[in-house]
């Protein structure tokens, strides 16, 4: 445990374990592949040319660094309800301005470069809301690789604009009807494709979950968010923020922001899960309302029944509607470094509208959960405190869902 006291940034161990969590719970057919992937990833990490190409694409193709923005009117409006002298400054890391409209592209750039390095000629991915599917289809078009996206039939129906985007980008979108026909089933189908096409196929997983090395690798590719934010804070404000806030589906945008700050003890962190209709009803808060188990290659917190059958999550945000969570979050919860909370559909809808009206920014429903949590916590903090929240996606994809929830016909 002494090692852990020294750093929160040295996980996982060489078997891919974050404490009790993570690991490589995959069928034997896939085991040699994930071992191979780990070897190639280590080689890429040690290769300056790989990093140079990654950085170049992030700058000129994705549009990084993303701005860090002081949300002055939001801050003032939250202070209106706070006691005099209270109400923290709210800042946003603007990853919604990335090419394709979310943080997902950061990871896809990293993984496709790795796929090419490994000589793979076919890309597969799973998607829920379609943001990771769009980001994957985008990098496949950019590098000329065939792309197959698995998407639950239920999600295909509720995310038509993203389905069409993926098709425009040349991807084949396969609706998954097995199981409950949502994100977890799309991931099952991705794994089934992968075992049957091990020789030529690379699986681009969209969040910091799955068998080792995916959770570590996705976190590393997304860490550009926190690395930039840390430098931007120091140069703009001259100090680190007091609190970081991010929404959590599988946990990649949150880890991307948090990880570079984990060893700064003065920086507190809050991860926000989707409480859906409420924690006592249908929700997608695996850490708050789930229990440890094994799914999709890793040990982590899962929504499940007493027999270990996986139960369906629910969130108004398709991107948070997953019954698991990346294993590093399970570890960060247990050691207490990060605090976790949850926000309901209704609260997220309020956060969504609040940001639209106060800042002229239409956020995705996923970070709307983070905004709702910020709105609650900002007023309890002193006026000179700084909150930095991850605005990890824009809301164009969500306007139909929001209109329906607000009872508006468009």
């Amino acid at each position: 445990m002494t090692e852990m006291a020294n750093s929160f940034r040295n996980q996982p161990d060489d078997q891919g374990h974050f404490g009790d969590y993570g690991g490589r719970y995959v069928a034997e057919t896939l085991m040699p592949l994930v071992l191979d992937l780990e070897r190639e990833y280590r080689a890429a990490q040690a290769d300056p040319a790989f990093k140079a190409q990654f950085d170049d694409l992030l700058e000129h193709y994705v549009g990084r660094p993303s701005p860090m923005y002081f949300a002055e009117r939001l801050t003032e409006s939250l202070r209106a309800d706070a006691q005099k002298g209270s109400g923290a400054q709210v800042w946003f890391k603007r990853d919604e301005l990335n090419h394709t409209g979310a943080h997902k592209i950061n990871n896809c750039i990293g993984q496709i470069l790795l796929a090419i390095r490994m000589g793979k000629t076919r890309i597969i991915a799973e998607t829920g809301a379609g943001q990771h599917g769009v980001a994957t289809a985008t990098v496949c078009a950019r590098f000329g690789l065939p792309c197959v996206i698995y998407m639950g039939a239920t999600d295909v129906a509720r995310q038509q604009p993203n389905v069409f985007r993926m098709k425009l980008l040349g991807a084949e979108v396969i609706p998954v009807t097995s199981g409950s026909a949502t994100l977890k089933d799309a991931m099952n189908e991705g794994l089934r494709d992968w075992v049957a096409n091990v020789h030529d196929t690379f699986y681009i997983i969209g969040t910091a979950a799955g068998p080792h090395p995916y959770p570590e690798m996705v976190r590393d590719f997304q860490s550009i968010i926190g690395i930039e934010a840390r430098a931007q804070m120091l140069s703009r404000v001259g100090r680190l923020p007091d609190l970081l806030v991010a929404c959590i589906g599988g946990g990649s945008n949150a880890l991307g922001l948090f990880h570079p700050f984990l060893d700064d003890p003065e920086v507190k962190m809050l991860g926000v899960e989707a409480a859906g209709h409420g924690l006592d009803k249908a929700h997608a808060a695996s850490l708050t309302g789930g229990a440890p188990g094994v799914l999709h290659g890793n040990k982590t917190y899962l929504l499940q029944d007493e027999d270990g059958q996986i139960t369906e999550g629910h969130s108004i945000s398709a991107g948070l509607d997953y019954p698991g969570i990346g294993p590093e979050h399970a570890w960060l919860k247990e050691n207490g470094r990060v605090e976790y909370t949850s926000v309901t559909d209704d609260e997220a809808l309020e956060g969504f509208q609040l940001l639209c009206r106060t800042e002229g920014i239409i956020p995705a429903l996923e970070p709307s959960h983070a905004i709702a949590a910020v709105a609650k916590v900002a007023k309890t903090m002193p006026g000179d405190a700084i909150i930095l929240a991850n605005l990890c996606g824009r809301g164009d994809k969500d306007i139909f869902t929001v209109a329906e929830a607000l009872g508006v016909e468009i």
């Binding site: 719970y25 085991m31 040699p32 094994v294 799914l295 027999d307 270990g308």
Partner: protein
Amino acid sequence: MTRLSNAFTKPALVCFVTAGDGDTAANLDALVEGGADLIELGMPFTDPMADGPAIQEANIRSLAKGTTTANIFAIATAFRARHPDTPLVLMGYANPMIRRGPQWFADQCETAGVDGVICVDIPPEEDAALGPFLRAKGIDPIRLATPTTDAARLPQVLKGSGGFLYYVSVAGITGKQQAAMDSIEEAVARLKASTDLPVAVGFGVRTPEQAAAIAKVADGVVVGSALVELVAKHGEDAPAALRELTSALAQAVHSAR
């Protein structure tokens, strides 16, 4: 000799059905009457990532009827009472097995008279999650070897495994696709050179002809999806159809060498 090793003194027919799908007790009796040497009882799971449509649907049918882990152990316990000599192994995924802790699961297996456990998503690297608890009770953790398991990796797969070695003859999911006979022969020879465990071959075996060809070179032949499809088709009336296919398969396997 254990019940499991006993089953492989001649070429063995290994039959898989999903627990809680159809009248499972009657289905298992039909397999034994048809001549199955070893039973693999599938534990249904909501997310059977390594299975093709036939077994996925069997899982869904079973869970839709409300099958619980307690029901599965009750099926196994009753089977053991009716068939004291036929080895029974449980096959499934990690999460339902470790949900109440690996010790609980190993205890239940012992009480029910289960001889071995095949856990699809616990590779040797994660053995600590279940393997030691099974071995302490004398229950064999049965491992899978696949076309992607190379010579360098094989010793790790064999270490700590027991019962028999399950050779998955295709890189893929359970179901219809089938490996070429010469690649199976070569793989089995390679595996047998490295282990004294019997080697059973499965995935994509459907007909007595295929089973006979495999039984010429391997210690056992595993048939799953073809049986499960009969349960899908005939429902509660599946036993007669299962008995018929099993006896054709058993005849082919037992007279192969």
